[in-house]
Symmetry: C2
Subunit: 194 residues, 2 copies
DNA sequence: TTACTATTTAACAAAAGTGTTAAACATAAT
DNA sequence: ATTATGTTTAACACTTTTGTTAAATAGTAA
């Protein structure tokens, strides 16, 4: 049977993503999502059969989106320095849009005993090798390349995960916080690359 | 009425903390906690009246414990360098024990619109000032002291939050990961202090 | 117009989790 | 030995959330 695409299925997913990944409301119910999308709750079951299915789809897509971003930066045909700058810029832009997305993916990863695909690992290894080379040429402080990678992602992701707390701690508003986060693109690069 | 202390109330709290903060099982039910503690579920209601009460107590204690650790490092009568080393050592030790605790506190902070006490803010400001002085004396790369602080906590907390993912990504076991985390004490210090 | 698809409504069933109660049992303190 | 407290058991009520169904309505395409 031919199905008309009214975009509602996508709307539901996008709304769920927004609630989960932008607002960080991890415990939102199907009713919450339906309300936010402006549709009837029954429609969620109509399109996704169950909450779990919707949830899985959304998390899988989130994981893929993040994966794509990182992979495309990892595999870019660029000198290491530019590659690094690109990665930071793209990752931070995404993380500003969906500050809780990574946390979500990570916590789902914990629950489900998922394994990272070999293809990803290979790409990561290539990146780790490039880091090693850069270290040998003195462009990066010498250390375990894995530590370098952890540092990089820590510096990028953490301040966005904790944005709410930080805003309160430093008594700053959204606009100012956004400014701080934008400044971090250069700052992170300067911290890890000489 | 005189009450005998059998330690069971504490056992329940400790078990809850372990499940939440060490295992990262954010959605554990009262039954899960009772089972893990080896007691009857009814006892949770007996001691804490409701799940929420238990939950609040545990999160409040977690927040206080973290607060104490950070405050005691912030307020230590030590030169800045040693203060920093102490903070890193103590924070990482704690974070290794309870890798998800901070995440929990942060996500509860998001939900509850909690405000940071002024006393905390004052201590933080003092620390930020010390950072500024250290920057002026050239011991720390010049930047917004708040950025420095965010960097510091990012480098400390993030790799533990993502330990499960990292272990899979880098194909390493618990022992090796622990070794990496211990190495980070020196590594973080070296990254942010010259 | 007809037919088909999308969406809503309402009502209900089923499941999961939580809170309560009363009775029984265990055990340490007096 | 008695008493008070800690703990278990079982049963049940309540709430929240989810999943299902059938019928009604709206809208679009043929």
């Amino acid at each position: 049977m031919a199905t008309r695409d009214t975009g509602t299925e996508q709307l539901i997913k996008d709304t769920a993503k927004h609630i989960f990944f932008s607002e960080g409301r991890l415990h939102a119910t199907t009713q919450d999502i339906a309300d936010a999308a402006g549709v009837n709750r029954t429609l969620l079951n109509y399109y996704f059969r169950s909450r779990d299915t919707l949830f899985e789809q959304v998390v899988k897509e989130a994981r893929d989106e993040m994966s794509d971003i990182i992979d495309s930066a990892f595999s870019a045909e660029l000198p290491f320095k530019e590659k690094l700058e690109k990665l930071i810029a793209v990752f931070l832009d995404q993380a500003m849009k969906f500050p809780y997305r990574e946390m979500y993916v990570v916590s789902e990863f914990n629950r489900s005993e998922k394994v990272v695909q070999d293809a990803k690992k290979t790409k990561l290894k290539t990146f780790l090798n490039e880091i090693k080379i850069e270290m040998e040429s003195g462009k990066i402080k010498k250390m375990d390349p894995r530590q370098f990678c952890m540092n990089l992602f820590a510096l990028m992701a953490y301040p966005l995960i904790t944005s709410c707390l930080n805003k309160s701690l430093y008594s700053i508003n959204d606009v100012e916080y956004l400014k701080l986060m934008k400044e971090r693109k250069q700052l992170i690069f300067d911290m890890i690359y000489q």
